[in-house]
């Protein structure tokens, strides 16, 4: 324990004691090879226990009786379904399931994790998760969402360091064609300073500062009005500008404009000393000083009617670095958000309430995750891989204690068991299409043209349908799990779902009906492996056998269809468990 801590400490010393050296080397590299492919350079690190081992140690040490309370490791089938959903956004095909279950190699889980991390589905799916985090399914404004999605997808595919991605997004103003898509973050919010202040602090800094706009946060002692306006100050001079000739809308900036604020409490109590102002600053980090220009020389391009002004000094251009460079709070928020993505709950929870009155469930672990994410230069794949390799991630969601009244001891915050994560709309759509064999039908029909992009294009309609029904309120962060009657009506009665269930060459019902009538155990196995990614229990095989007994022709076809629906609609299917 002590030794392990020492190692982390030494590592930190190495990384943090030379910030100047490493920063200048980095800068030189970037300028020398501006067009170099954006691949995360793995720094050479001293020998240390892999992160996944630290995760398990710190999770286990935190809870007395952890060993007694914890669920066993998931079995192969449970792990397989979970890792496919988490890293590729769909359940495995029946062939993939059979292959994995048969595989006798002891390290087959690690092999699969690596394989999935390098799949095109990973890039697509993780980009979608990042999209929802950044944009909360906001509607189209100025920038084509498809281009933004493609920008995120290629970024994830090339494993662009997360800090770099965020820097790019916060630096894009939409003027350069190649970075235009990245400007969606600002432009979809119309460049509005309060909306941006709220979302930047929530998403990147783990702090919902909404209540600190008018006064220090009344319930969170850590959050001051200064913090709110420190962020606002980066953006107060920016505004949306439409160039009518170029037919292009961009985020422009002026050379002047300051935030001014005073506490409405002090105004009310007549104790205010008048409006205050602040230079840009990210929380308690240093305020960013700015150059002074002679009057009349503040602009590269002066403001005029129909002209986009360009100031000599851009406040907004400082934001990307101020958020992402040497900012532990950013690293901690990202570490926590990515942890939540796989575990279903943040170590700081809720994700945007990171303050001293709401301490992390595992402070030491969050420190290590934060430090390691920074030390590994925000290597997204490496980080997700380490979490996925941990026993903590691989625990079963089933726990004998849940059968007893004492299950209250099992708090989600202790990570003694895998949490049930509701399938997000994209996962849900693709899981349904995979389970029913619709995806397979399309794979077969695409033949040589088959790849991730063509398959998705063919089935995008279903994905969209699920997003519109299960995607929540546009512009609002995703809330607690909510299930609505109209969703169930769609799944139960809508033509678009009902039509994919019955037999059609190559789909699940077709495969099931081709199994000889006297081989119902085989049928039950095919059904359960396809839909629930596990073999049926004995009782389930018997149940299927009983239901199909004596059923022939159309009756049998109908029963098979209804069995598929019943499994698809089960809670076991609805959640990533």
């Amino acid at each position: 324990m002590f030794r392990a801590n020492m190692r982390v400490y030494v590592l930190l010393l190495i990384v943090f004691s030379h910030p100047l050296i490493s920063a200048s080397v980095e800068a030189a590299d970037r300028s020398q090879f501006p067009e170099a492919p954006l691949i995360a350079n793995k720094p050479i690190l001293p020998a240390e226990p892999p992160l996944h081992e630290s995760i398990d140690r710190l999770i286990q040490n935190r809870t007395a009786d952890y060993a007694k309370l914890a669920s066993p490791l998931s079995n192969d089938a449970e792990f397989l379904r979970r890792i496919y959903l988490d890293l590729t956004g769909r359940i495995p095909t029946i062939e993939q399931t059979r292959t994995f279950l048969k595989d006798q190699r002891t390290n087959k889980r690690a092999i699969l994790i690596d394989q999935l991390l390098n799949s095109p589905e990973y890039a697509r799916f993780v980009a979608q998760r990042l999209d929802v985090m950044l944009m909360q399914r906001m509607n189209k404004k100025y920038i084509d969402p498809a281009k933004w999605e493609e920008y995120l997808r290629t970024s994830v595919a090339e494993n662009k360091p997360l800090d770099q991605l965020v820097r790019e997004i916060l630096s894009a103003d939409g003027t350069e064609k190649e970075h235009q898509a990245a400007a969606r973050f600002y432009l979809a919010r119309d460049g509005e300073v309060n909306e941006l202040t709220r979302d930047i602090s929530r998403i990147f800094l783990g702090a919902d500062l909404t209540c600190a706009q008018c006064h220090d946060h009344p319930e969170v002692a850590d959050w001051k009005q200064d913090h709110y306006y420190g962020i606002s100050a980066f953006l107060i001079r920016s505004f949306v500008f439409t160039d009518k000739q170029k037919k292009q809308t961009v985020l422009a900036e002026k050379a002047e404009g300051e935030v001014k604020y005073e506490s409405v409490f002090e105004v009310r109590d007549k104790t205010s000393k008048g409006p205050a102002t602040t230079l840009p600053a990210v929380f308690d980090n240093k305020k960013i000083p700015e150059p002074v220009f002679k009057k009349g020389e503040e602009y590269k391009v002066k403001p005029a009617k129909g002209v986009r002004p360009i100031p000599q000094y851009s406040r907004r251009a400082q934001l990307g670095d101020a958020i992402t460079t040497d900012n532990r709070r950013f690293a901690r928020t990202m570490a926590n958000r990515l942890w939540d993505m796989l575990l279903g709950r943040g170590i700081v929870h809720p994700l945007d309430a990171d303050h001293s009155d709401n301490p992390p469930s595992h402070p030491e672990l969050l420190d290590v995750l934060t430090e390691q994410l920074m030390a590994h230069e925000y290597d997204l794949k490496w980080y997700l891989r380490e979490i996925a390799l941990s026993e903590t991630y691989q625990r079963s969601s089933a726990n004998e204690l849940f059968q007893e009244q004492t299950a209250k001891e099992l708090s989600d915050a202790q990570f003694t068991h895998a949490l049930l994560k509701p399938l997000n709309p994209e996962q849900y759509a693709w899981a349904v299409m995979e389970a029913t064999g619709l995806a397979e039908v399309h794979r077969n029909s695409l033949k040589q043209k088959l790849n991730e992009a063509t398959l998705r294009k063919n089935l995008l309609g279903y994905e969209r349908q699920f997003v519109s029904l299960f995607g929540g309120v546009p512009g609002e962060p995703v809330k607690e799990f909510e299930a609505m009657a109209d969703q169930i009506l769609y799944l139960s009665n809508d033509q678009r779902i009902q039509v994919i269930l019955p037999a059609r060459a190559g789909n699940l019902a077709d495969r099931l009906l081709k199994i000889p009538v006297d081989q119902t155990p085989q049928l039950a196995e095919e059904l359960y492996l396809s839909v629930l990614t596990r073999p049926p229990l004995q009782t389930e095989t018997e149940e299927v056998t009983a239901l199909l007994a004596e059923k022939k022709g159309q009756d049998r076809a109908v029963m098979v269809t209804d069995l598929i629906w019943a499994l698809l609609m089960s809670s076991e299917f609805r959640f990533n468990h």
């Binding site: 706009q213 089933a398 609002e476 139960s492």
Partner: protein, 431 residues
């Protein structure tokens, strides 16, 4: 270039400047009481009657584009701004409204007028936002709309019916904001019932029952050793869906009598009013009905003859029918729009956008019929008595249906005042 947002712009999103102590938020007292009464074992008719007796409901008539206050609730005949129409007496002693609303005039004893509105907003979207959320738009923070708020306060939590239905008035899931999709408007587009209330043509009741019971069995096996907080919510939604299917009668709009159709008119608005009447009768909490084409920048008077000619009778029939059926006393009626129209008549014989001095009508539950609040000057160019804005109106709506408008919402543990704490209810029109 004008410096943007350099002065402090605080709209008290969190309401915390008024009260730092947390008050407990009882998700709508009426709803709470109702769910305790329990509807188990009652027939639908009995249940509907009980619902009607206990539950407050709300109907908004939304006259999109901005109806002219001078041609409706605050006529100024014989003045330079008054236009060609006369004022007529109504069933409320001393209250006169435009002659373009003869049927409505006969219902004025059920309605109160607010003639002193000044929302300081002449933009359609922003005006609509003020009138439907009770606040000025505040970037970075989204208040829930009236329909979503009342759905969350007044709908029984276990009701199979949607809490907020929009008929011919549009609506977006965004209106619910932090109250969640459960309180987003169900938009009946084209006056049709929502999708998928009927079983699929290929399905039979027997098969459906069997597949549902199979679904439950598979789920129960899974849930045995697992935490069930989420799965319970999921399984309940199947019951809700089944309940909604069994109550799809509320959306069967094919049985209006010829007489009703004649009284309400065969046009879309008349049909939509009949639909709203049925939805209210069946216990839906909040219904929004739309009527459009009031943005009369030119030919204001001809357009108002035409539009109000369509609006007046079904609106009056609706009030009268609700009264006859005993529904009016617990149904709040609000007839509003995004703003009024300029007293000044422009060169195209039109009136332009005008948020400075205009009127709305409210009636029914909790409202003092025949009351008038606020006054504009002789030519209607400014409010001279009892000026109010969206905040006052929101306090009034809340209190009319028996809710405490000074309470707060607690999304994510942050207090959000339900109605602007700088304003208060228009007491003189409350019963």
């Amino acid at each position: 270039m004008q410096g943007k947002g350099v002065t402090m712009r605080c709209n008290y999103a969190c309401g915390s400047h008024e009260s730092l102590t947390r008050r407990s938020f009882m998700g709508g007292t009426a709803a709470g009481a109702l769910s305790m009464l329990g509807f188990g074992g009652m027939t639908q008719v009995q249940a509907a009657k009980k619902l009607a007796a206990q539950q407050k409901q709300v109907v908004v008539f939304w006259l999109s584009g901005g109806v002219s206050q001078l041609e409706t609730w605050d006529p100024k005949p014989g003045t330079e701004t008054g236009g060609p129409f006369q004022a007529i007496s109504t069933s409320a002693p001393g209250v006169q409204i435009s002659e373009l609303l003869p049927y409505t005039a006969q219902q004025m004893h059920h309605l109160a007028l607010v003639r002193g509105i000044n929302t300081r907003e002449n933009n359609h979207g922003k005006g609509a936002y003020i009138m439907q959320t009770g606040r000025k738009e505040q970037p970075g923070f989204a208040y829930p709309y009236l329909g979503s708020s009342f759905s969350s306060h007044l709908s029984p939590p276990d009701s199979p019916l949607p809490g907020y239905i929009s008929v011919g008035a549009g609506g977006s899931s965004k209106e619910a904001t932090f109250l969640g999709p459960r309180h987003a408007p169900l938009v009946l587009s084209g006056g049709k019932a929502p999708a998928n209330l009927e079983m699929h043509a290929s399905m039979t009741t027997e098969r459906d029952k069997l597949r549902r019971s199979l679904r439950s069995k598979v789920s129960q096996r899974f849930e045995q050793k697992r935490k069930t907080a989420h799965t319970e919510v999921y399984n309940e939604s199947f019951d809700q869906a089944a309940a909604l299917m069994s109550r799809r009668d509320i959306f069967d709009f094919s049985h209006f009598s010829d007489k009703d159709v004649e009284r309400y008119g065969k046009h879309d608005f008349g049909q939509h009013c009949l639909m709203a009447r049925q939805l209210i009768e069946k216990g839906v909490t909040f219904v929004k009905v739309g009527h459009t084409n009031y943005d009369t920048h030119s030919e204001n008077f001809n357009f108002h003859i035409e539009q109000l000619g369509e609006f007046d009778r079904p609106f009056a029939m609706f009030i009268s029918d609700l009264y006859d059926r005993g529904l009016l006393e617990h149904t709040l009626i609000i007839c509003m729009c995004e703003f009024g129209r300029t007293p000044k008549i422009n060169s195209r014989v039109g009136r332009d956008h005008w948020g400075t001095a205009w009127s709305i009508a409210v009636g029914g539950a909790g409202i003092k019929g025949g009351a008038v609040s606020g006054k504009t000057n002789e030519t209607g160019t400014q409010v001279i008595d009892r000026e109010v804005n969206g905040g006052h109106l929101f306090h009034t709506y809340y209190q009319a249906v028996g809710l405490d408008s000074t309470e707060e919402f607690y999304p994510n543990g942050q207090p959000i005042a339900k109605a602007d704490p700088k304003t208060e209810a228009i007491k003189e029109i409350l019963a």
